[in-house]
Amino acid sequence: MSGLTTTWARLTPAGRALAVLLPIVVIGGAGTTALLVAFGGAIGATIGANIPIVRFLAASVITFLITVPTAFLLIYMEMKIIALMNLRIGPDRVGPFGAVMSVVHGLKVLMKEDYTPPSVDVPVFTLAPVVVYTASFMTLLVIPFAPALTSMNLELGLLYFFAVGGFGVVGLMMAGWSSFNKYSLLGGIRAAAQAISYEIPLTLSVVGIVILTGSLSLTAIVAAQSGSFLDWFIFRQPLAAIIFFIAITAESNRTPFDNTEADQEIVAGFATEYSGMRFGFFFFAEYVNVFIVSALFSAVFLGGSHAPINLPFHPEINVDLGTLGIGLPLLAGLAPVVGTILCAAPIWLFAPRVRTWQALLGGFLIFGGLSTAAIGVWAVAMLPPVADLLFFLLKTFTLVFIFVWMRGTLPRARIDQLMGFAWKWLLPASLLNIFATAIAVLITG
């Protein structure tokens, strides 16, 4: 026994990790192989018979995995942009320009104590962040990033979005009610009141678009906006766009409608009693929500993945690597070396004080940048999903920036002004929009 412990003590951390992982990998791999050999046919048949379910599960897992880096990116964006608006420096410690700061924040939240106060309703308290986060990432399923990059092309995409997105407020109510804290209670009730009020103009504002396209599928709505930017629904349905934008701001609890977590009034609202990763889930859900509502706005009103203008010519960069034959490996091997030297040569020739290795490093970086740019241009020109995704993300992040900008600029609306605005102005305006659209459709046929 002592021999074993001595050996363990002598191992480096990497060796210890290997000593633990190697048997697991070997035994697990052998077991999996055996299972596949034994039941592979049956498993394959089951998967083949239930393609939609498997597809749904795979899409859910992928969207869940996408949300985490998205939330990190948005948190960093918000920290940095608001800092610049406040004339501060903002995060600058971890990574270039502090870009990894939000990841470190996430890890910090993971490592904090997960404390449950003694008086809370434990099952509801534990379940609330799960509900909130699930509701927000499940809505990402129907977002059409590109025609070829849609997780689930549901016929009732918009309806699914509003239905599942509406679940989030149940989670907020659960958190507010179970926390046994009056601030949490007020926050939860505010969230419920606000979500119910703004859900109605939000849903009604897109009815005009549904009339125009004749479909609830988000892919069909995006397809109906093909052509130039004048075909986007923001120009054909401007009133709906304004109502929709205000309503999604309220739905995602962003400034100036962030009454649910107004820290000057009710400390942290529904999240007052939460700590550690449970709070982290609320926090992440907020930013995932911002991304999702921005994506929805750009899909419904900004033409989704369509380019603003249809170019009169279609650039085609046909690179058929197969014709090169034996030249391909030679090119792959030689091009970096030759390219680096060619890029380094001007530096080396015209800047005599730069040392050779520095010139070579600079040449390597320049060549790397140029070749990456070339591959990017080729991908945008030749691979439609890449270009579509690029335009979609461009529009989405412009909207995210607008949300962050509003957060940096505006004070908070009072809860009665907020509710009055929804019921007295947005609801009649959205009804007016539906009538106007319907009459226009009737007249023009």
């Binding site: 406040n86 008086s119 004070p411 908070r412 009072r414 002004q417």
Partner: protein, 407 residues
């Protein structure tokens, strides 16, 4: 011997009618109230609850505790609880000599502490019957007006922050930082200056102060205007503060309100003009007054005062004479027995000190009148019937500093 039955402890102090599982009665009977607050607590009606804000709360301007009785979002009653910052400054001053008393009063209104020095110094000078040199008077006016701007810019930022805006406080802190830095160059301290002395000031203006002041004055008006654009033209801000916490002139006078809060209610009372001290009678400035009396008016009056202060500083810099900055006084001060009241128009209102001398080197009694204490009693009447969010807006517009309230 009777067997003692142990009553189950109540799990909640909030609801007297909470159900106790396993107890003999369905509801535990409400206990007999011991204090007035407990009685109020036990007689809550349906839907009402108490919320305890503070002393640790994001927006109570220091360690203030407010007990708010709410019905849903509506505030029914509001009760400020003071004393978390009480240091007994008045008593401390009685056991210190006259010079030391000035630094005890210094940290009372810590965002504008030059006024807390100016008031006791004025009272002691009346007791001593000493004439302050004219240059020292000009320097006092100059530094006090700078401090007033620093305080009002801070108020502007806090007001926005309490309404949920993130940016204005950081923008207004730029102005405040520049002023605080130049005062630090003059006095050696950033917050608690301890610069005024009985009979003058501690040291003449130095080069660094003057160069910083000149650089700041050249862009001050423009900077402050650009900061205002973010709030004054903001529909959300104006809608949240207009007609909120309206204070009429009669009530204001009855409650003893002074300063910008009084002038926002339509009473043009300014100590600098109505009971002139130092060299204020020789300076030209307006007393900004508004008649609405709401939170927006209180905000706008303060903004106007910033502009008037810049005007005063401009005149002071042009007219400042040469000469000594300190009167000739004995090192140990022993005023004749008597009493004197010295008051200045601070950024929050009249800041006064009533000092009684018994002929020794220590004040026999020093009574400090702080405007924040007076204004805090308005929070309840002005907020009643409004929403929880309005509590913060009213508090911010009254601009109390807890250091001065608790003394």
């Amino acid at each position: 011997m009777t067997t003692e039955t142990t009553r189950p402890t109540r799990p909640s102090l909030d609801d007297p009618r909470v159900a106790i599982p396993g107890s003999s009665s369905w509801y535990e009977p409400a206990p007999t109230p011991q204090t007035e607050r407990q009685a109020e607590f036990l007689n809550l009606r349906d839907g009402e609850m108490f919320i305890n804000m503070g002393p640790q709360h994001p927006s109570t301007h220091g360690v203030l505790r407010i007990i708010v009785k709410v019905n849903g979002e509506q505030v029914i009653d509001l009760d400020p609880v003071l004393g978390y910052l009480h240091r007994g400054v008045e008593k401390l001053c009685e056991n210190a000599d006259y010079h030391q008393a000035i630094c005890y009063t210094d940290p009372l209104e810590y965002v504008s502490s030059l006024f807390c020095e100016a008031a006791p110094v004025a009272a002691f000078e009346k007791l001593m019957d000493v004439e302050v040199p004219r240059r020292a008077q000009y320097i006092r006016v100059l530094t006090m007006e700078l401090n007033r701007i620093a305080s009002h810019t801070l108020f502007q930022g806090w007001m926005a922050l309490d309404l949920g805006g993130l940016t204005p406080i950081l923008w207004s802190f730029i102005e405040r930082d520049e002023i605080v830095d130049m005062l630090a160059a003059l006095t050696g301290q950033k917050l608690l200056y301890n610069y005024y002395r009985i009979g003058g000031v501690n040291g003449d203006l130095n080069h660094e102060f003057m160069s910083r002041l000149g650089a700041w004055m050249s862009r001050a008006a423009k900077h402050i205007d650009s900061n205002l654009g973010l709030m004054n033209e903001n529909e959300l801000f104006v809608r949240r503060t207009r007609d909120l916490g309206t204070l009429d002139a009669a009530t204001a006078l009855r409650m003893g309100v002074t300063g910008p809060n009084l002038r926002a209610s339509g009473v043009p009372f300014d100590l600098r003009r109505d009971r002139p001290y130092l060299v204020y009678p020789e300076l030209e400035f307006d007393v900004p007054t508004r008649t609405e009396g709401d939170a927006l008016a209180r905000y706008l009056v303060r903004i106007e005062e910033i502009k008037q202060s810049i005007r005063i500083i401009d005149q002071v810099l042009h007219e400042m004479p040469d000469g000594p900055v300190m009167a000739k006084l004995p090192r140990l001060i022993r005023p004749r027995p008597g009493r004197a009241f010295g008051a200045v128009e601070g950024p929050r209102g009249v800041y006064g000190v009533y000092a009684i001398s018994d002929g020794t080197d220590q004040p026999f009694r020093m009574r400090i009148h702080d405007p924040s204490f007076v204004h805090l009693q308005l929070v309840g009447p002005l907020t009643r019937g409004n929403l929880i969010a309005d509590t913060m807006a009213v508090m911010a517009s009254l601009d109390p500093v807890m250091g001065g309230v608790d003394k």
